[in-house]
């Protein structure tokens, strides 16, 4: 196995009443800490109109935060790729790839919220077509000097990417997927499937088999890098960890349930409105350092996942708790996982 990489997901969502300039200063401190402690990557997600939370926009946020963490890979995880125009995405990501010294990861997924589809003049119905067209166009803009392509919502006529990405042939393309058909699409179109944070681990084990079969069908090898997003929390004991993270994590998943995230999940594992203890079980990585290391090693053995993108902060969680977890993970968990 390739050595496990540990990434920090900065969800960067905060309750409505909080002072976001203060929170931004804290996020920069988290980024500097992660850089110092040998984390491998920084991730930020993407949503628009994100009430009831406040949220930073991904492209400017990651472009700014990378100045604090020059050694870390910068993961756009994920871009809601059915919404934008491919020329815009290709050019912006190429710029960030050059500015970061070739550290960009391009995460892409469909999206599911009506308020976002409407605001971008599209619909749920068009999302698969636009996603596939956009991805094809972006790859071509990154690798060809002049692109001609007519699609349902744009036309490239002798278009070029003003700046080519530093990474060749292009930054890794990670496709986020929850549902089975989306996983087949990830196998077909991406450099890897970017495993979501929501599905239970037994679901992911089943879907990894599906993913392998889909790769075989396309004649593609299993990817060297196999990333997964997970909610992670560590304290001196499992009871203590559960007690500390519960109020924040519970509220975040209530909001996902409200937004309809679980409608995009596979049958039998499509309810994020469960009681907290049932929600956590076999889904999130929570416990003492030994227990969390064990869970990570187990996940790697059963699935091959070797880049863990960890969210350790949910809306309302104070900075000192976050820094504690970032530190404890690096000092007490990463070495155990690497040994294991």
């Amino acid at each position: 196995m390739a050595e496990m990489q540990f990434g920090l997901m900065m969800r960067a969502q905060f309750p409505a009443e909080e002072d976001m300039q203060q929170r931004f200063a804290e996020l920069k401190e988290q980024a500097r800490t992660a850089n110092k402690l040998g984390y491998a990557s920084l991730t930020n997600g993407m949503h628009y109109s994100s009430a009831p939370f406040q949220d930073f926009q991904q492209m400017p946020f990651l472009s700014r935060i990378m100045a604090e963490a020059p050694d870390l890979r910068i993961n756009f995880g994920i871009i809601l790729l059915s919404l934008p125009k491919p020329l815009d995405v290709a050019e912006c990501l190429a710029t960030v790839d050059v500015l970061s010294g070739g550290k960009v990861i391009f995460g892409a997924a469909l999206g599911y919220r009506e308020v976002e589809f409407l605001a971008f003049g599209t619909s749920q119905k068009e999302r698969v077509l636009r996603f596939e067209e956009n991805l094809e166009a972006i790859k071509r803009l990154w690798t060809e000097d002049s692109v001609d392509m007519k699609a349902s919502h744009f036309e490239l006529k002798g278009a070029s990417c003003s700046l080519k990405p530093l990474q060749k042939p292009h930054p890794p393309i990670w496709i986020g997927a929850n549902a089975d058909p989306a996983i087949e699409r990830a196998a077909r179109l991406g450099d890897c499937w970017y495993v979501n944070p929501h599905n239970r681990i037994d679901t992911i084990i089943r879907q990894t088999e599906l993913y392998r079969r889909a790769l075989d069908a396309c004649g593609k090898p299993f990817p060297d890098e196999f990333p997964a997003r997970r909610e992670v929390f560590v304290a001196e004991s499992r009871d203590k960890a559960m007690e500390l993270c519960k109020p924040f994590l519970k509220k975040k998943y209530a909001a996902y349930h409200e937004w309809g995230q679980d409608k995009a999940m596979p049958e039998g594992d499509d309810d994020l409105g469960l009681d907290f203890d049932d929600l956590v079980r076999d889904r999130f990585l929570i416990g003492s350092p030994d227990e969390v290391a064990e869970q990570m090693i187990d996940l790697n053995k059963k699935t091959g996942i070797n880049h863990l993108i960890m969210s350790v902060q949910w809306p309302g969680m104070p900075q000192n708790m976050v820094l504690d977890v970032i530190n404890t993970l690096a000092e007490d968990v990463f070495p155990k996982v690497r040994q294991g």
Binding site: P60, F61, A119, A159, L163
Partner: protein, 338 residues
């Protein structure tokens, strides 16, 4: 008078863009220490045969090097975009920069960009106006419901509040007369373009003022202009460094069709350089440059000069020297003269 620098961020094919980026960051740090007021980055897509860095990622990154400077997205090609995207990105940038964003916007004119964004050519003006209205409404921070021709806001709301209240200044770029009327009607100010001669601008200023009167809007407190500035210790040296850079740049503009949107009588930018420079570019020794800036101030009332000082191919050492020369020799002369 405020002094800003346009970091065009445009370089020929084959250049090491990572190295050029490092140089641009060095320029930004120098501007911070020399007391410049703003950094501007423009926006174009598909810029072959030139390389260009994208505006919003660039400005987001450069703010880390120059925390005191205002950041001017000058301009955003607003007809191409979706308003929720722009409103949200600017809100995040205004927050991260501590309230230093300027929102420049204009229509754009290149086919490759309109097609690339799926915008029919005839729809540009309508989309620009709808988008600007939607962005302003979203910037109130309240939920917005609005149906445009190419988007629908259904109780949409920006995700972070703006630091600047009620919103970042809206500078509307305009070349042609109808665009100047639009700038008066819709913007906080007209952002005077880099291409036109001073005599044309004088005429257009009358139109701008008349339209402001009709709209019962006062003349803006801040009135910005973009100009190419070539300043060197002597006149001869300034002319020498300006020549080749401007020639190649304006040939590229002409190829893109920029001259098509300029008014009749001032739309042949392929003229020989010497003729072209007159009343259009600011070239000379610090004394001459300061005098010329004061002239612009007296004739037009402009009080924020956004200078492009790095023509294509100008080496980094020369750009740094120019930045320093302007700050130490030109700023004080202009401020004394006002």
């Amino acid at each position: 008078m405020q002094f800003g620098v346009m970091q065009r961020g445009v370089f020929p094919q084959g250049e090491d863009m990572r190295a050029r980026f490092g140089e641009l960051m060095e320029q930004a740090r120098l501007m911070e220490t020399l007391g410049y007021d703003s950094i501007t980055k423009g926006s174009h897509y598909s810029t072959y045969p030139m390389h260009e860095m994208m505006q919003l990622p660039y400005l987001s990154r450069v703010m880390a090097e120059a925390p005191s400077l205002r950041l001017n997205a000058g301009i955003v090609l607003l007809a191409l975009q979706k308003p929720l995207d722009i409103a949200e990105q600017f809100a995040t940038m205004d927050l991260m920069s501590g309230g230093r964003m300027i929102f420049g916007c204009a229509l754009g004119y290149r086919d490759v960009e309109y097609k690339g964004f799926g915008v029919p050519r005839g729809a540009g003006r309508k989309r620009f106006e709808e988008n600007l209205e939607a962005v302003k409404r979203l910037w109130t921070g309240e939920p917005v419901t609005m149906t445009g021709s190419h988007f629908e806001l259904d109780g949409a709301r920006i995700s972070v509040p703006l630091v600047q209240k009620p919103h970042p200044p809206i500078w509307v770029g305009a070349n042609a007369d109808p665009a100047i009327v639009r700038a008066a009607r819709l913007g906080d100010c007209w952002y005077v373009n880099p291409h036109q001669r001073l005599d044309t601008l004088e005429r257009q200023l009358v139109l701008y003022k008349r339209t402001l009167d009709e709209e019962s809007k006062p003349f803006p407190a801040e009135f910005p202009i973009r100009r190419e500035v070539f300043c060197a210790p002597t006149h001869e040296e300034a002319v020498r460094i300006a020549g080749p850079a401007l020639k190649s740049m304006y040939e590229a503009y002409e190829e893109w069709g920029q001259d098509k949107v300029m008014p009749e009588g001032d739309n042949d930018i392929s003229m020989r350089y010497a003729e072209l420079a007159k009343g259009r570019f600011i070239v000379g020794s610090p004394d001459e440059v300061a005098e010329e800036m004061l002239h612009y101030h007296r004739v037009l009332g402009v009080n924020h000069i956004i200078m492009s000082v790095q023509g294509t191919g100008l080496p980094q050492s020369q750009t740094l020297e120019t930045l320093e020369l302007i700050a130490t020799e030109v700023f004080p002369r202009v401020r004394q003269g006002m």
